[in-house]
């Protein structure tokens, strides 16, 4: 009998999802608000369980599931995002008839991501990947009265389906050449794949599959539309959570399974990293929708994280993994702040209702919702890599690793990009603080406030005292090397 205690976090999340689904049926829309707190508690419990499980290692279910530092770290990331999103969604789903569906989907998506983090077999990986995808497709289209939401969901779904087909196609070749779907086994039987031309094809197909989630250019096309169109809390989940799922899958697959093909994918990731961060930052400059801007910024951040594959030193992997957690707080929080603004605009009926997250709607936010503005400022400065924030520490480790590995040119590009990004982040700050408000001051609802403060705390703690997180990230990186 397997020791299911190792899977306690997953079980907790799944159980919470099922319980919510079950009891939600019997509840009236008014009382359904409790579900949000329930989900939050469930995620929190899973988070605690995950943190407590640090240091344990196990392989389960005939080697298809691997519990190690890498999976635990990423579970931490996913659960953190999920926690922030669940908290914030309490307000979003207030008085909605579909609270239970929403939370169930959020939790199932989280579950999918968590399973991806610990899957050690392509079959499990693919299934869990799809779990996270399907749940988020539905979540992206959750506002089914909102054409933007549906359009985003449709694009997300289409490109997601194509990508999963590409990934499956790629997996099939890997399987064909190695005769196995188990990641450690593939690494043992890699010789044919490494020598044949199909190796590169398989690698790139897999990159396309994961790159869709990571939103690397050119597999990113859905991302701005989906992030913009989706409910903000879902954007937060997509950008801060499911993006990282792509990374953890890529870490496992490329570094553990396809290590023999390192030159190929390393080069591919180098190109993608450079193109992605540059494209993301450059296009973000001219965006007027904040969520879309954050989406492009998210692209850029993905580009930075992808540098870990390009550099491939222990330091780089530590940096990349650390970055995922840092980014989870920053981007998760930023989208929640956008959610708060969208909520404000739609309830107050002031400003640009067509595009509720328009930059103009952020005018004078510092006066209308001081806390949201302050937190947003922290997030965007963190994204820009201003010190004392998680973003800075992450960039320090990651960029410096490029210097260490002698890829100074890559570090230079990254750093120039980082500087460029400051332009649009600073513009957002300017709108929030330096332009006069259009409307009166309103109180920030507790769920948003709590989620924002949680994310801010994460950003600042990681910036001020990064040591424990760096240690964890390093442990996780050790799994890969």
């Amino acid at each position: 009998m397997e020791n299911l205690m190792f899977l306690a976090p997953e079980i907790a999340v799944a159980a919470t999802g099922l319980i919510i689904l079950l009891i939600g049926v019997f509840m009236s829309p008014r009382t359904k608000n409790v579900l949000g707190y329930l989900a939050t508690l469930g995620v929190l419990a899973a988070l605690v369980l995950t943190v407590r499980s640090f240091g344990t290692e196990a392989t389960m279910f005939s080697g298809t599931v691997s519990i190690d530092a890498l999976s635990q770290f990423f579970k931490l990331v996913f659960l953190t995002v999920s926690l922030i999103v669940s908290l914030a969604s309490i307000k979003y789903t207030e008085n909605s008839d579909h609270t239970e569906e929403f939370y169930t989907l959020v939790l199932f998506a989280t579950l999918g991501m968590m399973v991806v983090a610990s899957s050690n077999d392509f079959i499990l990986l693919f299934c869990a990947f799809e779990l996270a995808s399907f749940a988020t497709y539905a979540l992206a289209g959750f506002e089914k009265q909102n054409p933007g939401s549906l359009e985003g969901a449709m694009k997300y779904f289409m490109i997601g389906a194509v990508s999963s087909a590409l990934m499956l196609f790629g997996i099939s070749f890997v399987y064909g050449a190695t005769g196995t779907t188990s990641i450690p086994m593939i690494a043992e039987n890699i010789s044919l794949l490494a020598e044949s031309p199909i190796g590169i094809v398989a690698v790139v197909l897999l990159i396309a599959g994961f790159g869709f989630k990571m939103a690397l250019v050119p597999f990113h096309m859905w991302a701005p539309d989906a992030y913009q169109g989706s409910p903000s809390v879902v954007s937060s989940l997509l950008s801060a959570g499911s993006k990282k799922m792509g990374f953890v899958a890529a870490f496992r697959v490329f570094i553990l399974a396809l290590a023999a093909l390192q030159p190929d994918w390393q080069f591919a990731f180098t190109i993608l990293a450079v193109v992605t961060m540059t494209f993301g930052n450059v296009v973000a400059v001219s965006q007027t929708s904040v969520k879309r801007m954050l989406a492009y910024s998210s692209l850029a951040q993905a580009g930075y994280i992808a540098m870990a594959f390009a550099v491939m030193t222990p330091m780089a992997l530590t940096g990349g993994i650390f970055y995922t957690l840092a980014h989870a707080f920053m981007k998760g929080g930023a989208f929640i702040a956008a959610a708060a603004v969208v909520w404000m605009i739609t309830t107050q009926r002031t400003g640009d209702l067509q595009v509720p997250d328009h930059l103009d709607n952020f005018r004078g936010l510092g006066k209308r919702m001081p806390l949201a503005a302050l937190c947003m400022t922290v997030f965007v400065f963190a994204l820009a890599g201003i010190p004392l924030t998680s973003g800075f520490m992450a960039k320090v480790v990651l960029f410096s690793s490029a210097v260490q590995a002698g890829m100074t040119w890559l570090a230079v590009i990254a750093i120039l990009n980082s500087a460029l990004s400051l332009f649009y982040y600073a513009r957002l700050v300017r709108y929030m603080y330096f332009l006069p408000p259009e409307g009166k001051k309103i109180g920030l609802p507790f769920p948003y406030a709590a989620a924002l403060l949680l994310a801010t705390a994460g950003v600042l703690v990681m910036g001020l005292w990064p040591e424990p997180f760096l240690q964890w990230a390093m442990e996780a990186a050790k799994v890969l090397i």
Binding site: E101, A138, G176, A177
Partner: protein, 83 residues
């Protein structure tokens, strides 16, 4: 639109060519002989065994996938008129 089609066609052609080159350029490890009469030996049992032992974890996940897509699909497809 015509140009788009042409472009798409060319892109797909390129993709096909690449995959073909990859597939044809690889000397796949294959068993020397395929079973002569597949009907003789069914692998259903083997598959079943695999699914419920080795791949029980994906199977469990798959159940949740189906549940999730069920919820999602129902929610999205449901008209709001009955509210």
């Amino acid at each position: 639109m015509r140009i788009n089609r042409l472009l798409s066609f060319l892109v797909v052609l390129l993709f096909t060519a690449i995959v073909m080159v990859g597939a044809f350029g690889t000397s796949w490890n294959t068993v020397s002989e395929l079973p002569q009469n597949p009907a003789d030996q069914s692998n259903i049992e083997g598959i079943g065994m695999l699914i419920f032992t080795h791949y029980v974890a994906p199977f469990e996940v798959l159940s949740i996938v189906l549940l999730a897509s069920l919820i999602g699909a129902i929610y999205l497809a449901k008209g709001e008129g009955n509210r």
